[in-house]
Symmetry: C2
Subunit: 221 residues, 2 copies
Amino acid sequence: MEIKVVKKVLGVNDAIAEEIRKLLAEKKIFMFNMMSSPGSGKTLILEKSVAALKKEFKIGIIVGDICTTRDSERLSKTGVPVVQINTEPFGGDCHLGANLIQGALKELDLDKLDIVIVENVGNLVCPAEFEIGEDKKVVVLSLPEGEDKPLKYPLMFRVAQIAIINKIDLEPHLDLDRKKFRDNIKKIHPQITLFELSAKTGQGFKDWLDWIRKQARNKIA
Amino acid sequence: MEIKVVKKVLGVNDAIAEEIRKLLAEKKIFMFNMMSSPGSGKTLILEKSVAALKKEFKIGIIVGDICTTRDSERLSKTGVPVVQINTEPFGGDCHLGANLIQGALKELDLDKLDIVIVENVGNLVCPAEFEIGEDKKVVVLSLPEGEDKPLKYPLMFRVAQIAIINKIDLEPHLDLDRKKFRDNIKKIHPQITLFELSAKTGQGFKDWLDWIRKQARNKIA
């Protein structure tokens, strides 16, 4: 019975996601959805990405959190428009549904944007199940989380087209083999695009930025 | 409408949790529920805890994962009985419900146990909402996840009676202040019992083991 209800909710969600997809096609906006466990470093990756790209592209950000406006405060300092969604009034939802994204997009001036970045609620499980009309899903996995996570939370790695392995600067201090991270991600999703980087040191960051540039230019063209 | 459905499901769940609570009282078994983000180190903490305590207490473990039996394979090496719950056949549930725990307890010989440890699905959001009949809820937060997590995922820290800050051995390699972790946890839940430890090096581990000893002895007595 529970499953039936979930399916019904997902049906409504997918219909709204489709409306968003059409709107973004019309407005020629590239939107990606960043998902991860809490604490993988999504916000720092976005702070540095927006700082590097904001002269080339007009960027807007939608940040989802159950509570607090900490991430949106951090991201607002980049100078681009940020819309915070707190899911606590919606039952403390563990993900951003398409309805919340649709509402947040109304707060942004879409005629003046090339890229919309969605920072989802920190959760490696539930956000994977909800389409939000994005062009690409990006999953971030940080090195301290351990190389077995793609095998244990496969849906997220199956639906994401891009995986980022973050915090590679910590590798010398951890008992792990970075190759296993790559292998386990590829085992779940062989065609996934993989970036290995440190948002802290900047190592490996250029390839990730170039990927955003290429995606945004394709959508604008 | 979605919220009403969730409430109904929670009502059924709480009734089963109450049955479990009565069963464990009768059998004089201390059960705790370990919850955290993916990759906080729950399994390593449990491996070391069970190895240290298995001569003093008869321990059983219930491990929840969406997929894979990796954690139960690791924990089985401690020599104590382990029951693996994979939630994938139940819609890939992001938490362990009381019904799944009730089924798992039937796989254990409760007359021969003093302690049951539940390792929940790695998720800092959803498991907080589901009572499973446990005596105590323990939340694990690892240092690399960042000190703002208690503020961003407050429900988990509100419902847990015990918080463990793990991976303190990484402190020299991270840009953070461990005091802020403590302060933010206490801000959400001033009376919480706090342990700071490294499952890897063993630092701070004794206090945590003593806490388990005390709880189990109280329940057995």
